[in-house]
Symmetry: D2
């Protein structure tokens, strides 16, 4: 059980920390102010220019596509990654993800944001050469963005077999119909490609019914119906959209790994993605606790710093325990993934998916409370952070489904068949 | 310990229920849709016409200013209230407040919304005849609206002695300086009058240092700096503003009950106000539980209605217990207030201020979770409801301060002096 | 919703309070010391003489069998009750139960302890004249004691249909076989009669399969296998036993209300019994909070009374809220029972069965923590109190079963059939 | 952050697992039955012979004194330890401690039980040669046992400065007076030596006022006043005693490391001791979860295994998350202790002291609930396990004190001086 980053990863982590301190932190407050202004009197979906500037700086420092997995990065690590390197293990990348999670823009700036990282990984592992040339390379290059369209508004998507959207083989074409929502990333003007998941063959065995298909955004029949908000926030410039697909036709060569392979691909995609999500949330919670401590020491009431009133110190202690526990759980899941692959880490990945967003929600809520009314406003990044943590209790599978997985594995040790 | 409403109150409650079912429910979804549209392409602070239409209908049905307290309503109950009646006790009004809390617009439509109710009560109890004629009557008439400006951005307002804004006597004028925020109601175009609280005499005893002053919104030196949002929501058309007061001068006759009387007035204001807030939250939680049950029965996953999966039934049961407990606690506080006044209900009022928003937050969170992603969007009233509950854990005193009051009284029974 | 006790009940409550203060409190500590001594060097199942002395004093003061229900007390209230009175409603009796719950011996001393009260109620409502003469009268007279044998060691007794013990009609006899445990009361030397529940007709409809039978303890084939402890405590002199029944024969006239009627009887028995249990726990929690406050004020650490350290005041406040909520919930269930009978209070009775023991556990745990190591020892009544609360989360149906009932009723409002 | 055990430690861990499976598990149930019998009709403080038999077997297998710390074991590891080895690091020993924690007797049998391990460590690190020869060697040899007397009944011992017992230098003697309780181990007939802590010089600086003194049990003036129980359990044969010291005189050479050094010694003693305690609790919780799963699968209600009812699977999942989090936190504290000593692990050690007993309490409570009434009896080891976890929330410093340490360190990062 060795959670130590390699020397190369430790060096990269330090460099990411320096980059964020020197380039991101100084502009972040202004970024949010400008974005708020653009919301009032402009088009918030038009990315602010500072993002491209920061991307160039990050790339120049060799801090680009750090998410590339050691196992599958192959030639791409050398061409689009850092220092001609080989990609990082999950344990190596975790502390970097934590650092980027402290900032609302760092993931984007380092080309390490969801859902693009997951989509790139899918293409790395399962994409044809043509698919990789056409879509993976510009994604790695930061020239285009992508979306992942799976969840549907009409059914309980926590059960994948509920999926109603279809991807039907018709000669050498795939015909796509259905309605998706919470498709993250579709708001960005550079979002050129959707990874679509739909039902292909209802008669196949449970794990070979669905396909994953690359659908260019400008294909006829694709329509972004609206952008959705979570607790009032639209998460510009990526955003979450509701998208309808009406008799959309793409060549069969756009199917990833062939019809019926969506389940297998999704399994491989989700493990590392959940590590990233959770580790970013650990960073976000750490940031919130810092803000909480700073505020608690700088404001006074009843003759004392707020920190010294009532149960505040106990809650700060509990937050520290909760964050450290969560980080260790994520590192453990990352390590199990590294040493034995997804099937070795099923329980552990579900564990962090339950534990980390709940932890983050609790820590951020404490920070909000210590900030008083201001904590709920956009004067501080806390309301947005809370919303992000809350949304993660539903995105990528609700808590309840993950608890079900953990319990099934636990009871399985004692002979339960499911 | 008798929590039964009087026959007259029971009749009014039934009529309010009918009014909401017949007039409010059918238009509420459209109201929110229109407001969202106005946010995108108009001025959301311009109240939608349906509000005035509903106000007229409510008044025509004799459902107007039902909040008027039996004790202080006096002649006003006859002139502006219902059925020439005498105002209601807290126990009588509580079930009505619960009903209005189920809707985002019902309180406004019945002229029973915060902060106007609290301000009207202050004027009823402590206003001079002139103040009542000039401000109370148009408020009761629904012609103007008001705001309450107390909390300040620069200090921890949980401790009232931190207040930095000043109201200094200068001859026959009050000179007002300072900055307030979370001033609810200032966004409404009809908001004509602010109840301002500031420091008058730092050398007076702790309970006679501050004054409450009526400041017309258009007085020179009054500036609404910005509107604040909570978790991204602006609560139009009332809203919460940050307001600066720079050398604002009003006649001494605008001081309520004389200089130095703010503390006493605030004490009287807060008890019933907290009952109203909390009872509305009980209604909101009840509404959320209804939505949760409906959704849990209508969506299926893994071959069953969601209601029958995992711990969902247990959580629904816990929500029922939590709501019923909370309602009983509020009724108990209302009853103690009715039979013995504010000093008789100090602990009870603080108890509900802690218990009810936390309960509502938990119940609404469950409803969100059962709605999946949609629960976080504005397709359902849940995200807004959650935000309202969360904000109440800070507004009118944070949880921690109220827990402090309860503990002081509890330990006082065993000899602790404070 | 009127939770006020009648004047007669209020008078009785005051007299019970005085009796406990004057007669019980002064001897209680000594009672526990003597019992501990008897455990070391005697027979703890031999009741200490002080109990009979106190019973005589209570009866002399007219404080005897106060549990007698207004509805069913009939002539017995006059003969064995108080002041020739008529029995009390649940709302009337609740505050008395709360008072007795503060003491480990008061319920016994007032002839108001479980399981005898429940058994007496069963005989009052369903017993034949012969049964009442033979068993009810001496029970009301405090001459004998009884036990209730339902739960079984070999199956999950939370599901009554699991019951394996049998009560088979054989001519004019009932033949009884099976093994029961957690049979409360069997340790007492005066325990002369068991109310036994067993399967009579597996082919009858679900609600008419079981019978309730009066089995004198000295019937051949009845054997007390052992006494059980909860967390090390035996609850002498009543105790909880494991009892085997081997070809036990009693006359058919010992069946209560006829074969197959156990389900109906059990339903009627449980409502008031749960009110009593829960209200006693409210009293116990109230007592624990008093001890907690006293200790927190009298011990100092780091230069302050413990009460003023960290989150202690907040926890004391939460305890106050929790106790008051719980009491109101019980009063509400009592009131619903009084005005509409058991079917009117199904959810409410299950609500208190879940909420109250959990509340008591939490409050008592706080009191233990504030007492430090001593809180876990028998120097204070807290460890025993905690165990009592914990046991109630299982006795009379585990939390989970009651949550199931509440959820079924809640979802039923929205059309769910079960 | 490397939590991997060394190959030698991994081998020892496997051998301990085998020993427990082959020698301890088969006799444990009988051990508890015999002990219960001895409680009823004998002297439970007389250790059962099986303990000495198992000790001999463990030693023969080379599984003896495994707690010996790599850093300080020195020659003793070779003479009294395992395989002529060098002692283990905290990370190495943690999995062994977890295994022993699953059994109530394994720690004793491997000579690895508290408080002897802590006392031996103190003598290893701070004992004079004479002290080591006289007391350490027989302890390592398993010939005698020891107790640690620090906590006092008359004051809040969470604040060490409250300590009232004295150890006064009088010529070449130490004169000891005072009363201690919760002195673990004093019940064992082989307990020959007490480590006593008392006030020597009230005028010295805060960290040099107290001394630690070796007091042979049979010194005149030492009296074991009584044995204490926790929730009714006496933890025979070690037990927890209340001990009075009246004008007890021992030679100055019995002072460990010289007068005034108690604070420094205590600091060094507590880190590893808390690792051991917490890791044993992790094992105990793991055992409880196994019992819970087994029971949940083997009992049925309402037509299903209990495991599949309501929220049981979710709770089992939460228990798995909680145990794994707790284990990782302990390993992290152990690793920080190993790489940087006690000062490097202050927060981490306090974190586990808070988190692990609370976790264990929750997991064991779930196991109790799934066992129904039996879970509270001594038919299962759960009630005892729960009590052990609960007691650890007070022993070695209450939760609140440890939360205070964590918060002080956390706020210290942001400039708070204390």
């Amino acid at each position: 059980m060795d959670f130590s980053a390699s020397p190369r990863a430790a060096d990269l982590t330090a460099r990411v920390a320096a980059f964020i301190a020197e380039e991101v932190d100084p502009v972040e407050e202004g970024y949010h102010r400008d974005l708020a202004e653009q919301r009032r009197s402009g088009d918030p979906w038009q990315p602010l220019p500072v993002l491209e500037e920061l991307k160039a700086k990050a790339r120049a420092r060799g801090l680009w596509n750090l998410f590339l997995p050691a196992e599958h990065a192959g030639e791409y690590a050398a061409r689009f990654g850092t220092d001609g390197g080989q990609g990082l293990t999950n344990v190596d990348y975790a502390p970097i993800a934590e650092l980027t999670g402290r900032s609302a823009i760092a993931p984007l700036v380092l080309n390490c944001n969801a859902p693009d990282t997951g989509n790139m990984e899918v293409l790395l592992r399962y994409g044809s050469e043509q698919q990789r040339t056409e879509w993976l390379e510009p994604l790695l290059d930061g020239k285009i963005r992508s979306a992942f369209t799976m969840t549907e508004p009409g059914v309980a998507s926590s059960d994948a077999t509920n999926m109603e959207a279809t991807a039907i083989v018709d000669g050498d074409e795939m015909v796509i119909n259905g309605r998706k929502w919470w498709s993250t990333g579709v708001g960005h003007p550079d979002c050129r490609i959707f990874v679509f998941m739909g039902l292909t063959d209802p008669d196949a065995d449970r794990h070979h019914r669905h396909s994953m298909v690359l659908v260019p955004r400008d294909t006829p029949g694709v329509k972004i119906e609206r952008m959705l908000n979570t607790m009032g926030l639209y998460d510009e410039p990526l955003g979450h959209g509701e998208v309808s697909f009406t008799d959309v036709r793409v060549p069969l060569t756009n199917v990833i790994s062939g019809p019926g392979m969506a389940f297998e691909i999704a399994q491989g995609r989700l493990g590392p993605g959940r590590i990233h999500h959770c580790m970013r949330l650990v960073g976000l919670a750490e940031k919130a606790l810092e803000l909480a401590c700073t505020r608690a020491l700088s404001r006074a009431a009843f003759g004392k710093p707020i920190a010294n009133l009532g149960g505040n110190r106990e809650r700060i202690a509990d937050a520290r325990i909760a964050i450290d526990s969560a980080r260790l759980l994520v590192l453990n899941a990352a390590w199990k993934l590294d040493v034995g692959g997804p099937l070795n880490a099923l329980s552990e990945v579900s564990q962090i998916k339950v534990a980390v967003p709940n932890m983050a929600q609790q820590v951020i809520d404490l920070a909000i409370q210590l900030h008083g009314g201001g904590g709920l406003s956009d004067d501080f990044p806390l309301a947005g952070a809370w919303t992000q943590a809350r949304a993660l209790r539903l995105a990528d599978g609700p808590d309840e489904v993950h608890r079900g997985v953990i319990a099934r594995l636990e009871l399985g040790k004692h002979g339960a068949r499911r």
